[in-house]
């Protein structure tokens, strides 16, 4: 048993924190978040230079051969800094599909590793899946077009789609005549049927017949958007019928990643609260000396420390391919998302009017916390999954 980051991992943390603090202090993040395009595209090449983009990609595929434990450090630090760029979208969501296609479409992966391109993942649909877990019921249609493919359908809630240079799209391949067979009534039959034809394709942006529709998003540091595809050209990454394991792995990886981000957000929000409560005086005493204030902050800290333990456990479980990885990720995501929201809300309360202003960066942490909490379903959705594992069967 050893529950500590190694010296190398701690050095990675330090350098990440330095880089982010220097280039993206929260004032700068606020500026970017309030403008267009919402991030600093010139940062992308720097992330590649720092080795952040291919950290967990196998050395054979041009990466550094590290694991999600190293990336956990980066997710925590980018969360703490509220880095506004498609880092989670690329590394957390798109990389598994790109790496799955490392042999067949090597240029897609190498472009990301070189920092030439960012990417994201599109799974949700207007009348279809909302979460990655449900992505097997995607209706977005993939049809052959000579040697290539074309995709038709609307994807929604795509993270950082306006910033991304490419989108991994979950779609269903239809052989001619398949249309008549759909939809098979009965949920069970439908689900089994659904996964069979589902694959992953890459759509490069900008592309003809692919329209990105940015959607106003609470967290402007991580904007969602629609992707409307009307026979848009696409490259096959993962063949129809083989997407399920890649999507399952992507989902776990993403849950652990956002849990780590949440840990960073929690720490930053609580730092604002403690600094303020230590200095602000009312009735002749610092407000942090009142237990109604300090105990509230403490409770959020305790929730955050438990979440930290769970987030690291989840990242390690995924990295080590442990059997418990799904429950670890569900536990970490539900606890860390809720802890981050609690921490931000406690900080807003403890800072009084200041924490309620637009000018103070706290609301941006709050909105990121809520983004994380909503991602792939709120805490209760993950607890449903855990309850099934504990109580059924």
């Amino acid at each position: 048993m050893d529950f500590a980051f190694s010296e190398e991992q701690e050095m990675l943390r330090e350098s990440a924190r330095d880089f982010l603090a220097t280039r993206y202090p929260l004032e700068r993040v606020a500026e970017l978040a309030d403008g267009e395009p919402g991030w600093d595209p010139s940062s992308w090449g720097r992330l590649a230079d720092l080795g952040w983009l291919g950290l967990s990609v196998a050395e054979d595929h041009g990466g550094a051969g590290a694991t999600l434990v190293e990336e956990a450090v980066l997710f925590e630090e980018t969360g703490r800094a509220l880095y506004p760029g498609p880092f989670l979208a690329t590394v957390g969501l798109a990389l598994p599909a790109l790496e799955a296609a490392a042999k067949t479409v090597p240029q897609a992966l190498s472009a990301v590793l070189a920092g030439e391109r960012s990417a994201t993942l599109a799974w949700a649909e207007p009348d279809g899946p909302r979460t990655i877990a449900e992505a097997g019921s995607a209706a977005c249609a993939a049809t052959r077009d000579g040697d290539g493919w074309r995709l038709t359908g609307t994807k929604r809630l795509v993270p950082d789609v306006a910033a991304a240079g490419a989108v991994v799209v979950v779609a269903r391949a239809e052989a001619p005549g398949d249309r008549q067979r759909e939809p098979a009534p009965g949920a069970g039959a439908r689900a089994a049927d659904s996964v069979a034809g589902v694959g992953l394709w890459l759509v490069d942006l900008p592309a003809e017949r692919a329209v990105v529709v940015p959607r106003s998003t609470m967290d402007t540091t991580r904007r969602l958007g629609d992707l409307v595809l009307d026979a848009a050209p696409a490259t096959l990454l993962v063949p129809p019928g083989e997407a399920a394991p890649v999507l399952a792995a992507t989902r776990l990886r993403a849950l652990a990643a956002v849990a780590c981000e949440a840990v960073g957000v929690t720490e930053r929000a609580l730092r604002f609260a403690t600094e303020y409560a230590g200095q602000r005086e009312q009735f002749g005493r610092p407000v942090g000396s009142y237990q109604a204030v300090s105990h509230r902050i403490t409770d959020a800290y305790v929730a955050g420390e438990l979440a930290r333990s769970l987030a690291y456990w989840a990242a390690w479980s995924v990295a080590s391919d442990e059997e418990q990885a799904p429950v670890a990720c569900a536990a970490a995501k539900s606890a860390a998302g809720e802890a981050a929201v609690l921490a931000a809300e406690s900080a807003i309360q403890c800072m009084g009017g200041i924490g309620f202003t637009w000018d103070h960066p706290l609301h941006r942490l709050y909105k990121r916390a809520q983004w994380i909490d909503a991602f792939e379903g709120h805490g209760a959705a993950h607890r449903r999954e855990l309850a099934a594992a504990l109580l059924d069967g």
């Binding site: 048993m1 409560a277 000396s289 305790v302 420390e305 438990l306 333990s309 769970l310 309850a387 109580l391």
Partner: protein, 393 residues
């Protein structure tokens, strides 16, 4: 970072499990474990067995008769003992508090007089810190120790002393200098519980069990060589004791919570008279899942505490975080169990569900947020020492 047992840890755990299987008192797991005096003889015999097998003082240095094992072994021991629902060692205060305090602050003579007998159970220890007028504000205690020749004479009253009725020795704080500031005039004594003037009276708790006692001291003579640390320097010594109280306990507490959760799951899966499983109620499912998440969070927070203990030799603030959260989580869990029983919940004797097991657990849990540092004091400790908030007084 590796959450798995190392090969040495795994083989230690396996040997321990075998040993527990062979040595636990017959039918122990089926009996509803209630702390009380009735099984004292059994508890003494059990403590002796642990000693003979080398499990007492596992992490103590070999020169003091300990096992010289790393802290992870102690964590495994506590976890497995709790999982097996083994009886408590009667000398938990000797092993967990008096021993480590003597190793840190005792004279060579004190160490050779007490350490080995603590391990063997020949010297059972109790603790005389709290007083009727000094609970959370320990430093305001009033038991007086007046110098008399080459010793001291003690007069006063101590309270909430577990094991005082069977103890041979007491680690006791008394005031030697009433003129000094309240933290500066205290001295840490080893008091012979059989000395003239020591009287022990049982105190009955709201569970009905007399788990702890009052100690009355009337003109008790204590030789100077039974002072630990400096005269008037007892506060620093006591802080070592309290740090160890919370530092090593976490694994035992989490192990017990794990057992309770396992039983709660079994209870929830048992259909009631009309064939309805509580486990099918979505609200119950969410609450049970939440308990599981909290348990895992505590478990891995303990691992983190262990890492900091192994690095520094001193328990870190994670111990306070874990104790605070464990006590409240335990209260929620036991209360949920009573809710699952419905109107039956009021029956607590023979013929009640599990013969009143849950009723006892629920009532006993109310003490968890008071003993070993009230939740309010722990929140102050975290607020001030971890978060750096101003003192609340």
């Amino acid at each position: 970072m590796d959450f798995r047992d190392s090969p040495e840890e795994a083989s230690f755990r396996a040997r321990l499990r075998d040993w527990l299987g062979d040595n636990l008192p017959a039918g122990w797991a089926e009996r509803a474990p209630r702390a009380g005096r009735s099984d004292l003889a059994e508890a003494l015999a059990w403590s002796r067995k642990l000693y003979e097998a080398g499990y007492a003082g596992l992490t103590w240095p070999k020169r003091y008769g300990g096992g010289g094992a790393p802290y992870t072994f102690q964590a495994i021991l506590l976890e497995e003992l709790a999982r097996a629902e083994a009886p408590d060692h009667v000398n938990v205060i000797g092993l967990g508090m008096a021993g480590p305090t003597l190793m840190a602050h005792g004279t060579e003579a004190q160490k050779s007089r007490h350490l080995e007998p603590i391990l063997s159970g020949e010297q059972i220890f109790c603790q005389g810190f709290s007083e009727p007028g000094a609970g959370s504000d320990l430093a305001s205690l009033r038991t007086r120790a007046v110098r008399d020749g080459d010793g001291f004479v003690l007069d006063g009253q101590k309270v909430w002393s577990s094991f005082a009725h069977v103890a041979h020795w007491c680690i006791l704080l008394a005031r030697t200098n009433p003129e000094a500031a309240k933290h500066r005039g205290l001295t840490f004594f080893l008091v012979d519980m059989h000395a003239p003037g020591v009287e022990v009276r049982p105190l009955r708790q709201l569970t009905g069990d007399p788990e702890f006692n009052e100690i009355f001291l009337t003109g008790v003579r204590v030789p100077a060589e039974q002072v630990v640390g400096e005269v008037d320097g007892g506060w620093a010594v006591a802080m070592t004791t309290l740090l160890h109280e919370r530092g090593t306990l976490g694994f035992a507490l989490t192990g017990r919570l794990e057992v309770l959760l396992r039983k709660l799951v079994a209870l929830a899966r048992t259909p009631d008279g009309s064939g309805v499983r509580p486990a099918d109620d979505p609200l119950v499912r969410d609450r049970i899942a939440r308990q599981w998440v909290e348990l895992q969070g505590l478990r891995f927070t303990n691992y983190r505490a262990l890492t900091s203990l192994a690095r520094t030799g001193v328990p870190g603030p994670e111990g306070s975080v874990a104790k605070l959260h464990w006590s409240e989580s335990n209260q929620r869990l036991t209360k949920l169990a009573l809710e699952l029983l419905g109107p039956e919940a009021q029956l607590d004797g023979d013929g009640a569900v599990w013969n009143g097991y849950w009723q006892y657990q629920q009532l006993r849990s109310r003490g968890n947020t008071i003993e070993a540092g009230t939740s309010e004091v722990l929140r102050n400790i975290i607020a001030e020492r971890v978060l750096g908030l101003p003192r609340s007084r």
